[in-house]
Amino acid sequence: MNFIDNPRKLRGFEKNLKVEKISRRSILKGLGVTGGFVLAAPVMTRRAFAYETGAGKMPHGVVVDPRVFVAVAPDGTVTILAHRAEMGTGVRTSLPLIVAEEMEADWSKVKVQQAHGDEGKFGNQDTDGSRSTRHYLIPMRQIGASARTMLEQAAAKRWGVPATEVKAVNHEVVHSASGRKLGFGELAADAAKESVPSIEGLKLKDPKDFRYLGKGQVSIVDLHDITTGKAGYGADVRLPGMKYAVIARPPVTGGKLVSFDPAEAMKISGVEKVMQVRGWPWPSKFQPLGGVAVIARNTGAAIKGRDALKLVWDDGANGKYDSVAYRKELEEASRKPGLVVRQEGDADAALKAADKVVIGEYYLPHLAHVSMEPPVAVADVKGDKAEIWAPVQSPGGTREDVAKTLGIPEGNVTVNVTLLGGGFGRKSKCDFALEAALLSKELGTPVKVQWTREDDLHHDFLHTVSVERIEAGLDKDGKVIAWRHRSVAPTIASTFAAGAKHAASFELGMGLVDMPFEIANISCENPEAAAFTRIGWFRSVSNIPRAFAVQSMVGEIANATGRDQKETLLALIGTPRIVKPAVKDMWNYGEPYDSYPIDTARLRKVVELVAEKGEWGRQVPKGHGLGIAVHRSFVSYIATIVEVAVDDKGKLTVPRVDTAIDCGTYVNPERIASQIEGAAIMGLSLAKYGAVTFKDGKVEQKNFDDFQVIRMDESPVVTNVYIVPPGPDTPPSGVGEPGVPPFAPALMNAIFAATGKRIRALPIGKQLEA
């Protein structure tokens, strides 16, 4: 695997864990009240459970050490460290909750503390790929069980009884034979002296004794602060002497500043300085684009100053990027053979022999993340030390990139993770934090770099743009005997290496080569596509266009054969089996295939569950229609039914959405529901409005008036969520992303049922009004 197959390899991480002293910054002091050392932390490599995950293969792997993650104070307060970033999924609550569960801590006495970026100490912290629960359910249980064991051992010693006779129960250790009890706080100091038990010997709780896991009765830890305005996001950090900056960046990706005139800007009240910011050539991963910064005493003055700048840019080679012309290029490429990435049987011959060929060519434009909180970061650089406060999904990666950008050792960089006002993949890329670091270094004062919404739309790492073309060959009985899917889209790899034109394996594995249908002749192809702007990952990534095409095609086949959508879908999925696509080293979301195979029994199950609960086939009023779609992504299985209503003017509303999810063993069903409700709205946003378009190399949209997202008056009236109960050993799988892909195709199938119109190009825009 080269780095393009795995961009995260670019991070230059070190596999070996170092013995290092806990810095003063870390309020956590191990189990006890006195300071301690983080010893060589055991990396989980052995097969401890009935399944394995890819966690150990992530940069810096997994750290299982209670002294790193848990502290017990003499008053009994248990502090648990959240090492992943909170962007709305609930992870900052869910992971510590797992520790508290195993540890027998009382959640009302638990405080959650956010870890700063230090992967050597905490293990991998990259919060994306819908991985946190699936990679950390077991390690967090082991950490909690270790802490519990240490507390139990300390109590047993105090009482002079065998450890087997004592038991931690709800924040106390009890010796039931004698009726003695000691609170966690009373045991803290002694427990800290106990050696950390080996992972092998740990006794984990029987799931039937769980108080919190799987129950959904614990609210997120930030709930109160969010409702009172106290929750701290990136922009809410204020330091003494801090300056406020906004930056004018090259309007075309790869463009350069030719000249600038600061005179008018300097006349604006509150503006203190205008200065150039270093930029890197495109592509350069997450390095800043460069430009001109306006430094002021408040953000309002900085924005007004920027408006007054006179700027001359050289647009460079991407100045010709034009979305209308590019769409034609993609369409043409999709009509010719391309790099074959999966081949079973002989699709060419079978298509020629088919009784009927159904062809669908689907177009999905670029999308912007537009997290509610635009990118923002605060930096304080003094000499060869840097401290950052930022809403970043990957604090470890940010730390490495800040160190490299400033040319200082990584150990001199502290990255504090604030709450993220949404992330969706945008905040995995830390360009905004690097800008703040560069400016602070030059100014010698702390500085906050605030992106405006216009900046966010103009300089995003956009979701790709794609044409997906599917040809399905049917025999005379309407059975699908051939399937050819060509997927053409600029690749995320182009942001890491100039000239990358084919999808990386992780992109191929998102709905193209892992297509689960039982068809004898399959060809998946990936013709070339060049990139002309920064392409990045957006919640569920390539699964959006692939699921859109594949599941729309199911609807088209149903129509061509006069059969029910759901029955057509189940027939295509075929027999319950483990799918083994003929693809070498198929990317499986980084997970071992044994533990996380494509299991069509589970795929069928979510279809059947949503059909039953969502009353598939129910009578709907005139002008309404039902559509269904299913998709496996992030190793979870999700099926959605959308009811749409289209009035005689073509106005579309969504009275009801039903979604079934099988995400294996889960922690907090209440947060699963909130993610799925949100995914339906994001799916509706991208279907109805989502398009970032380019003209002369520049993004045409500016703000929420021309890059629209769904508002309350047009959101689904009700979204019902059904969670498949896990088997005893079902591994946990993704939740944050996989709700998005099935929504749009289910909606298209519903629109077809309601109106007879098949929409193949997004966004819907005015297509229903014609």
């Binding site: 709930l223 409702t227 009172t228 604006i268 992330g423 909130s674 997202v709 979204t719």
Partner: protein
């Protein structure tokens, strides 16, 4: 010198009178509960209440509010127990939470004007406030709960 009462406290400003109230609140007065989401009155993240009305602070200049009473999320209720705030917690509305201060201020203003809004009135009144995480179903339920107690 512009004087304005914010959450019951008098504040003054002698800088640019055109400074948007949002940036005065956040950067000058240190009241960071009010959020920046678009700067163009398109998203509602910056919503505050001025004399009982929900107002977008990003397009309201500090000069426009001279002598008036501004309430931000920090001043909605001393303990954070305004019926809307309580309902928000009861329903577990937030995901990332970034839009929620604006949503809560908008909802509080709605209920002052119309204590028992219908489903359609809630959806209409709240549709100037974007939630990119997509909490709308719960926002609607929470407004309903705050207005009816059920």
């Amino acid at each position: 010198m512009i004087k304005v009462k914010i959450n019951g406290q008098e504040q003054s400003w002698d800088g640019d009178p055109d400074l948007p109230l949002l940036w005065f609140l956040r950067d000058e007065a240190g009241l960071t509960g009010t959020k920046f989401g678009c700067g163009q009155a398109l998203c509602g993240a910056c919503t505050v209440i001025i004399d009982k009305e929900a107002v977008r602070s990003c397009i309201t200049s500090i000069n426009d509010v001279a002598g008036r009473e501004v309430t931000t999320i920090e001043g909605l209720h001393p303990d954070g127990d305004h019926p809307v705030q309580k309902a928000w917690r009861e329903v577990n509305v937030p995901q990332c939470g970034f839009c929620q201060a604006g949503q809560i201020m908008q909802a509080a203003a709605l209920l002052m004007e119309n204590p028992k809004p219908s489903h359609d009135q809630i959806r209409e009144a709240m549709s100037g406030n974007i939630c990119r995480c997509g909490c709308y179903q719960r926002i609607e339920n929470a407004v309903h709960l705050a207005s009816t107690g059920v």
